[in-house]
């Protein structure tokens, strides 16, 4: 399944309200719960924090890819967050995360989970595309950018 098939305005937060790592993760998890993509926000949130505790998913150039396996997700699901000021995420280059891709998948769907993460890994190499995404100020702009891409 292509990433774009999972992206809709209800799972995008642009701009994010949170100002620290845990609060933006929670905001995105709650967005998925509100959109009916996951069954239980708390379980999903803890799964992502558990993964982050092993090592930050903050990459370079303001991108973070928090993810986790949880029975709370019935299928692969993604939320996207854009933070205008950036959030301290323990990233490799020390830069605050401005673009967050939160991915949750059920434990028995490793294939699609990996496929989606690999797609984000490839996308993160396009600095121009990521800069355009980070500049989005509404969910509609984010979705439009993906569709136009």
């Amino acid at each position: 399944m292509a990433l774009i098939d999972l992206i809709e305005e209800t799972v995008v937060r642009a701009p994010l309200k949170g100002t620290d790592k845990n609060s933006v993760i929670r905001e995105l998890v709650d967005a998925l719960a509100a959109a009916g993509k996951i069954l239980d926000a708390e379980t999903a949130y803890l799964a992502v924090l558990d993964r982050e505790a092993k090592g930050s998913t903050g990459l370079e150039e303001g991108i973070a890819v928090p993810h986790g396996k949880t029975i709370s997700a019935r299928q692969l699901t993604i939320a996207i967050g854009v933070s205008s000021d950036g959030v301290e995420f323990g990233s490799m280059d020390g830069k605050p995360a401005k673009l967050l891709f939160l991915i949750l998948a059920p434990p028995d769907k490793a294939g699609p989970h990996i496929e989606a993460l690999a797609e984000i890994a490839r996308m993160s190499r396009s600095k121009a595309f990521c800069a355009s995404l980070a500049a989005c100020r509404s969910p509609a702009e984010v979705v439009s950018l993906f569709k136009d891409e």
Binding site: A110, G111, L117, A118
Partner: protein, 162 residues
């Protein structure tokens, strides 16, 4: 004239589309009297890519590889069961590496006459075209390829099969 399709292989990746493809391959194999193979590829290239990009930790790579191995057994067993219900046997194959390369290699190794793939996601960009593994398999397979579309119709065909 010899039968043009004696060996059919379906690629299964755990998606609903690939399960529908498996059902269609069963219908075809039964109708044509062909031998049926099912392949799952543990995508170790994607895993390596995720470690390289630092999305995955080394330990996570091992964990997900085990998950994928589990998925492989589960989905191949599911295809075996789908075939058994219709009185057909299926040879299951599992390999690891880059998906489209493994499919291509297995087609050649087994002498496959027809490769059946699940419906391909809509290609929205040149990059999708380059990276979608099912799309790449379709383009690079050294044999005729059938893309199984229309899950409802396939389901009916499968259910109607004696």
């Amino acid at each position: 004239m010899t039968r043009p399709i004696r060996k059919i292989m379906v690629y299964v990746d755990g998606s609903e589309q690939s399960v529908a493809a498996a059902q269609y391959a069963i219908v075809l194999a039964k109708a044509l009297g062909a031998e049926l193979f099912a392949l799952y590829v543990v995508d170790t290239r994607a895993l390596a890519e995720l470690v390289k990009s630092r999305i995955f930790l080394e330990s996570e790579q091992d964990e997900y590889k085990r998950d994928l191995e589990g998925d492989a057994s589960r989905y191949l067993n599911h295809v075996r069961e789908l075939a058994r219900r219709k009185g057909l046997s299926v040879v299951t194959e599992k390999s690891s590496g880059a998906v489209h390369i493994e499919i291509k290699a297995k087609v050649a190794e087994l002498g496959i006459d027809l490769l059946v793939l699940g419906e391909i996601s809509q290609i929205r960009s040149r990059r999708d075209e380059l990276y979608n593994e099912t799309e790449r398999a379709m383009r690079t397979a050294p044999c005729p390829v059938l893309v199984a579309k229309g899950e409802d119709k396939i389901w009916d065909l499968y259910e109607d099969l004696e």
